[in-house]
């Protein structure tokens, strides 16, 4: 396991990722935002305690939930995915919005 191997790996990863289309990169950015938001909330909970546990749960799960849904959207929009080539991107986005609506309705109810 040499250093040049690791560098070659990182380079090939970077070049392969650069080739992804722009809309998928935007979704990946949103994904990174959600996950980091969830991590920040967990660290905050570790510092101040979890007293209104329902608020903590709803906050973290809303970030994780939108991340998961964004991954699903990305899967459905990815051109290289042969299973979803008949799916119109508008339909995929509409499903994404619907699922997010339900998720956030529950979150707001639970936030307390």
């Amino acid at each position: 396991m040499t250093r040049s191997d690791a560098q070659a790996l990182i380079r090939s990863l970077r070049s392969a990722y650069a080739a992804t289309p722009k809309n998928l990169k935007i979704i990946d950015l949103y994904l990174a935002f959600s996950v980091s938001s969830a991590l920040i909330q967990v660290i905050y909970m570790a510092m101040v305690g979890s007293f209104p546990f329902n608020s903590f749960l709803s906050g973290v799960l809303s970030c994780v939930g939108t991340a998961v849904l964004a991954v699903c959207l990305r899967i459905q929009l990815n051109k290289e995915n042969k299973e979803f080539k008949d799916l119109a991107p508008e339909r995929a986005f509409a499903d994404f919005v619907l699922c997010n609506l339900v998720l956030h309705l529950v979150i707001i109810n639970f936030l307390g």
């Binding site: 790996l9 990863l13 998961v68 499903d95 699922c99």
Partner: protein, 783 residues
Amino acid sequence: MVATDSPAAGGSLRYAFGGVLSFFILVLIGVLAFSIRLFSVIKYESVIHEFDPYFNYRVTQFLTKKGIYDFWNWFDDRTWYPLGRVIGGTVYPGLTLTAGTMWWLANSLNIPLSVETVCVFTAPVFSAFASWAAYLLTKEVKGPGAGLTAAALLAMVPSYISRSVAGSYDNEAVAIFALVNTFYLYVKTLNTGSLFYATLNAISYFYMVCSWGGYTFIINLIPMHVLLCIVTGRYSSRLYIAYAPLVVLGTLLAVLVPVVGFNAVMTSEHFASFLVFIILHVVALVHYIKGILSPRMFKVAVTLVLSVGIILCFAAVAILIAVVAASPTKGWSGRSLSLLDPTYASKYIPIIASVSEHQPPTWPSYFMDINVLAFLVPAGIIACFLPLSDASSFAVLYIVTSVYFSGVMVRLMLVLAPAACIMSGIALSEAFGALTGSIKFHLLASSDSQGNAGDATPVSVLPENGKAKTDKVEETTKERPSKKNRKKEKDVVEKASVSHRPENQRAEKKLWALPIEASVLGILLLVLLGAFYVIHCVWAAAEAYSAPSIVLTSRTHDGLHVFDDFREAYAWLSHNTEVDDKVASWWDYGYQTTAMANRTVIVDNNTWNNTHIATVGTAMSSPEKAAWEIFNSLDVKYVFVIFGGLVGYPSDDINKFLWMVRIGGGVFPHIKEPDYLRDGNYRIDSMATPTMLNSLMYKLSYYRFVETDGKGFDRVRQTEIGKKYFKLTHFEEVFTTHHWMVRIYKLKPPRNRIRGKAKKTKSKATTSSGSNTSPKTKKNPWQ
């Protein structure tokens, strides 16, 4: 593919005809499911059965009277006196909200249904829905033919009928529909990869969590299936879409239900879903990286990640194990533990062990409850493997796990019923398909010997058997008609001894057709099998499972004799006692007492407080004076016992007495079971132990019993009672029902004046109460 115009038009017409026929078949199946459950209404009356449904009925009455906000915040002070019960937080609201909504809907349309009618008929209506959901689920797994068969089987299966007759207003009535529906939506999402169905799946799972504690079965079965798919190399992006949103959205929705609350994220029953969630993400990431990297680079990445990742993995797992091992039951609840380890309940939790529904089933109960399906299920499992898809692997996993759990507890046969129906539906449909295909092939081969039969549509050959026609139509709706033509062409080619079709000579699949006599005989025998199943189901629904158990009947030589003692006793209580009087009895009758007699009870069927039940059990097992003191400390005014000795009713309190002793002895050590046993048996005849003859239960059951026939012959225990002539010192009898089945006693008030022997009795009382180490007994200051 080679469809010319007329076969295509003929095929689509047949397709449409098949669709309409399927629709009417489904409507008929719904009507069948509804009407087979009406036997109890016809034979007895439209009344709520058993014990638990009375609680649900009372809760629904409250909901319809007071509205939903008061329902959520309801603190019930009429039960578990003096503790009360938070109804809003401890009841699964799905059933009551469903029935309340149906009542409200009917009344807003000016259809004046009473709450009781809606409650009685909720279960049959939802069993029709459950059959339709089973059709949809099996259609996803195998095809519409199998779906229709499975739906027809589920409409009639006795195990499901037993918990959903008209009048059985219990959680399982709607929960089975929710279960099958959730599984259907999961399989549909898995097959289509649509996020819309994933959302519907989460909402359906929410309905299931609202309805029944058995939702933990779903949240453990689906992760198991995902793991199975990953391990067998069937990972696909549809699997991710089917599972990941369900976990997040499902957990959030489960936390919303007050009964579950934070248990959804903190108990071991849910950890499997989180673990598989993490595993799924790891697999998805690996899949993604593999897709964008070249194979050589991927190998490098794998070695790098493995060396670093394994260390982190071990650390995380070690922390998790330490946290879980710190709790005494490793985070599992008692109910789940008793499912995983069948002997757990009998060792540690006598209350769970005492319920008759929690005993393991016997072999005959399998044939009683799922009958013919018991040996169609293995055929269905084999059919699921040809070919194996994600959906059929899910069906196999479902049947295997439900068979295991049904072996632990009889009441879980209910979870086995839909799985068995799905498997049997698949088996029957495949069998019919093979047999009718053979018949068709033979008829086709005999009808055209030479020429190009490739253009002639074999499906135009109508066999004489009407039943086969239905299945053939269903089969054509399964695949495109042209594909069917090609398959039949291949059949003809392989067995071409009569005709020559050189352009179709391909030796791909050797499909062998059975001889025509065997096929016809096979179809006739399968129809006969179905007939036996139907006869058994109707008999089970009519005779075995439609008894409301609040009303008993027996056939005498001069007609039908009705025992309505329970309602007689509750009506007496509601008319002849004060509103605030407390009534004590064994916990079985708590729900009925609060619902029908409208009096406060000490313990009821919820059995959430073992010590309180043990207190009542101790009181029933103690001599009169100690029992009086216990009951007086609980402000009890009336005590009643169920006694079946005069008429031969076997589920009376004397037969349940051993549980009172065991549960009471589990908390109060001065109640020792061997004191009540003679040679290891509970006896009430002349060989009974003195402790038994002095216990409150014996005295309240057999007080003045000797006056009925002069000898005191107990028809249930089949013997004369031991102590025949005795008086009650601390209780007085206020009511005994017509057949002596319910006997109500009142606590005598304490004496007004302490007589001259006060000092001696007081010192005797102190010494005797010193040896009596019951912590609940206070020294009675009035004696």
